[in-house]
């Protein structure tokens, strides 16, 4: 298992990240750290209603306040709307005719300081006509319910109805059939850095520094919003403080308003959201009602699966069409399922908007399916590890492919080994034999297994390219459009380039994205960066290497194919004593004739055809290159008198990411994704809503997971070397994110016999469930 560490010179080794020195000394500059001369502060005025028509806006008092330099309202964007697909462009930068969720922006102010901007916002008079609203998707779907968007009958954004095999027959033939309803909470992205932007105009070019994980996504949106050719939209990436697929991966009011205010005032405008704005108005994970019906044979083999999922998408569409696809489409991995049916809806409500978030979609169905599996395993008397192992997809032999019933292509699948390794690291067998102590404190352990899509490729422009430039002094510049939001992609790209060129990490310099100079990349989402940008980087480095070897071959009087580069030496493969140092070869190449610049170019050509709306309608086919797999076991400690649940340190996980380019990064990503974006929702997190109002929009009342209660998972890497990723890579950490919640919920079930079907298992919820169980047992014993 340890072999992967010695396969390459750099790849597979836990080298330190390229940007951590800047971060650990405080030198890293995030969006809020930037200042421009003459800068103004922007602030957005927000509506105090979840659903209301805007009758009038009077900005005159605000405009007269000394220190205010510009005020804008929604109309000034000229009817511009945006959305992920052409037919889902339902959102305006600021509300124009009506507001559809609480605190939606209706106007914005730029002033010489923050306080004046805030005061000016209070001086803007808006007349509203409150409208009837909907907050529950089931109510919203009823005939006659108030419409969030007039062109969306019954508030349905999308619905899919898929049918593969014959689930009814499968259920008839099953020994045990169960139907359960699970509910996932509305969850915050949870990053500590609030969205921030500094925008200004120069020479008719829009300049934008903002915390975005997918700058090119914004590049195209802003080009359309401000009627600019793409070459006049300049987006500069600062260091970004996490993304997780939401507001920092898409656009929000601050992005448009800062730019329009900068245009109007002729000065740079800075907007930094408060954490309150982030938690009330920015994108959250969907709340979903996941009804699952599964049929098992007597020995625990899954015969059929039916998912019926209703999601609360909130006031605007965003990525919800993809969300519903990913929630249900991935239900056929990691276990073999020959009969699969889905009915699913994403519904508009007047709640804050839901969008993509780490573990996108699969997170919801995984919770339901993997927890129901434990309920059924219990009924059948089968061990939870065993039932998963026997149902798991086998790792296809090299050259072979497994297709799920809905045509997901699986070339490599290490899930069985993940389950084995996890159980071994945890000591699962021994744990089952433990004596259950008396007293109010109980312990339990639960397992979950999952897969997740890698290399997502959606519609639109998906070009992903890289440039490797070798300078005359031997140093190397690497430029891609990929954005490191903390997941370590910069380090991975540098490692790939250095590996191919036979250099050390420190020889290759990567700069953050600047759309004026760097090359487009779709963005940091769908676990695609290492696969596509990695491929582009690899090819760019190979291209540069080829040019160098041509020059070296001339100098050494051999053929280029006879040469290779390692440890900064160009050498003959058949006689390593015939070698030239890297710098000599570079000089040879660069100083030939009047001076060359060695530029290697690479473009990613891999990937599937990309989805089409038809695929969503039938549910058939992939939107990515491969699937990563993971298993996780967690132990919980529960105080049965108070209901307080916490993870103990005892935990294990195993991840199949194809090949871990940097095992240290993979580990932290997996462990972190599981704790912060998953286990946290199993135990601590949910937005508590009341008529569209978020009751807990701060980190005291909305509990984020902390260090004292963190699990310390033992970790195993499972190597499968996928043929569709450079160096065999697949995604890392989204599969583990999907295992976090069900593992903990199953652990609670193991400890108490209570299955929490509506995360989070807050102290009170646990207390109530335990009370109900006790009362039910009393009744039954009579």
């Amino acid at each position: 298992m340890e072999d992967y560490k010695n396969t390459y010179s750099i790849l597979g080794k836990p080298v330190p990240r390229v940007d951590t020195r800047l971060k650990v000394t405080g030198q890293a500059k995030y969006a809020a750290d930037y200042e421009m001369g003459g800068m103004l502060w922007g602030k957005i005025k927000r509506a105090p209603y979840a659903h209301a028509r805007i009758l009038s806006i009077d900005t005159s008092k605000a405009e007269r306040l000394p220190g205010v330099k510009g005020v804008i309202v929604g109309k000034e964007f000229g009817g511009f709307t945006w959305g992920w697909q052409a037919h889902t462009r339902d959102e305006s930068p600021l509300a124009v005719d009506k507001v559809r969720y609480m605190y939606e922006g209706v106007a914005a102010v730029a002033a010489i300081d923050k306080e004046i901007a805030e005061e000016a916002c209070d001086l803007i008079d808006v007349e509203y006509q409150e409208l009837p609203a909907v907050f529950d998707p089931f109510e919203a779907m009823k005939e006659g319910a108030p419409l969030v968007h007039e062109n969306r009958p019954r508030n349905i954004l999308v619905e899919y109805h898929w049918n593969f095999g014959n689930v009814d027959k499968a259920f008839d033939e099953s020994y045990l059939v169960r139907e359960d309803l699970f509910q996932t909470p509305r969850q915050a992205k949870g990053y500590i850095e609030p969205p921030a932007v500094v925008a200004w105009w120069e020479h008719d070019t829009l300049h934008y520094i903002g915390a975005k994980g997918s700058p090119y996504m914004l590049w195209r949106i802003l080009g359309r919003a401000f009627n600019l050719p793409l070459n006049k939209v300049r987006i500069i990436s600062p260091v970004v403080g996490c993304d997780f697929g939401g507001t920092k991966n898409d656009a929000h009011a601050l992005d448009f308003t800062s730019i329009l205010l900068a245009k109007k005032t002729g000065r740079p405008v800075k907007i930094v959201y408060t954490q309150w704005e982030e938690l009330t108005t920015c994108l959250r994970r969907h709340a979903m009602w996941v009804r699952v019906k599964m049929g098992l044979s007597k020995d625990g083999m899954i015969k059929g699966l039916y998912t019926n999922v209703v999601a609360d998408g909130g006031a605007y569409a965003r990525m919800s069409p993809v969300t519903m696809y990913l929630t249900n489409g991935q239900a056929t991995v990691p276990y073999r399922i020959d009969n699969f049916k889905t009915d699913t809806w994403n519904i508009y409500t007047n709640n804050p908007i839901a969008a993509a978030m780490r573990g996108h979609g699969m997170y919801h169905s995984r919770y339901a399916i993997d927890c129901q599996l434990d309920l059924m395993a219990k009924e059948l008397g089968i061990d939870p590890v065993e039932i998963r192992h026997k149902n798991s997809i086998d790792n296809p032999k090299p050259g072979e492919t497994y297709y799920t019933v809905n045509k997901l292509r699986v070339a490599t699948c290490g899930i069985k080994e993940c389950i084995e390794q996890t159980a071994k690291l945890f000591g699962w067998k021994e744990y089952q034999k433990r004596e259950r102590a008396g007293g109010p404190i109980v312990h339990g352990a639960g397992i979950a297994a999952s897969a997740f899509l890698s290399g997502a490729r959606l519609t639109g422009h998906n070009s992903c390219s890289a440039i490797v430039r070798i300078n005359e002094d031997g140093s190397v510049n690497l430029q891609t459009g990929a954005t490191d939001v903390g997941m370590g992609s910069d380090t991975a790209m540098v490692a790939i380039a250095a590996e191919v060129l036979g250099l050390e990490m420190k020889d290759v310099e990567i700069k953050r994205v600047d759309t004026a100079y760097s090359y487009p990349d779709p963005g940091s989402y769908g676990s695609r960066v290492t696969i596509y940008a990695g491929e582009a980087t690899m090819k760019a480095a190979e291209d540069a290497k080829r040019q160098l070897l041509e020059a070296a071959a001339k100098a050494m009087n051999v053929f280029p194919e006879e040469l290779d580069i390692k440890n900064k030496k160009v050498f003959m493969k058949t006689d390593e004593t015939r070698a030239l140092p890297w710098l000599d070869v570079v000089r040879e190449a660069c100083y030939a004739s009047i001076g060359n610049v060695i530029v290697g170019r690479g473009v990613s050509k891999r990937g599937t055809k990309g989805f089409s709306p038809k695929a969503f309608a039938t549910g058939e086919g992939d939107v990515g290159t491969s699937y990563g797999f993971a298993a996780q076991i967690n132990e919980v400690e529960i105080d049965t008198e108070t209901g307080v649940v916490k993870c103990t340190e005892k935990s294990a996980m195993a991840d199949d990411c194809g090949f871990p380019l940097n095992p240290a990064i993979v580990e932290t990503q997996c462990i972190g994704g599981s704790y912060h974006q998953a286990i946290s929702a199993a135990i601590y997190e949910e937005f508590v809503m009341d008529q569209g109002s978020t009751l807990n929009p701060n980190f005291v009342d909305y509990k984020r997971p902390r260090a004292y209660e963190a699990p310390f998972p033992k970790f195993a890497h499972v190597i499968t070397n996928d043929p569709f990723g450079p160096f065999g890579v697949k995604e890392a950490s989204e599969a583990t994110t999907c295992t976090g919640a069900p593992a903990v919920i199953n652990a609670i079930y193991d400890a108490t016999g209570v299955m929490i079907k509506n995360m989070p298992a807050t102290p009170e919820k646990m207390w109530r469930a335990l009370k109900e169980k006790k009362e039910a047992e009393k009744k039954n014993s009579h």
Binding site: T25, G190, E193, Q275, T668, A710
Partner: protein, 160 residues
Amino acid sequence: MKEELRDLRFTLNGREVELKVKPKTLLLELLREDLKLTGTRTGCEVSACGACTVNIDGKAARACSILAVQVHGREVVTIEGVADGEKLHPIQEAMVNHGAIECGFCTSGMVMSARALLLENRRPSREEIKKAIQGNLCADSGYMKYVEAIEMAAKAMQGK
């Protein structure tokens, strides 16, 4: 009385600083906006995330919850004052080498909490380390590697 500026003199990262501030200025605002030391971060408004943690007289404190005038006569160290020139502090070294740091936004606060802990307690137990960073929210690392890095730093500082 309200607009009156107050004299403020204190040691910041080893240097004497003297300026005039409005009493309502928070230490965090002074550091980031007036002194342009942006390494101390703004994360939340409710004193919950710890991204703004600094050391005052060797103790961890949140700059967002302290009036700047209150550090008069005291010694303040921010993240910018932890490394010794180009040489990283063992805590920083350990965090970098152990792979604890992801997006880095919580890192300044983590370093400052760890620094204060090790100034007071050279041999902290794992429990004590967890307690020392309980006030520092992270969103991506899972905390495990931060705790382990601080353990490693403590050992390194003991000369092990």
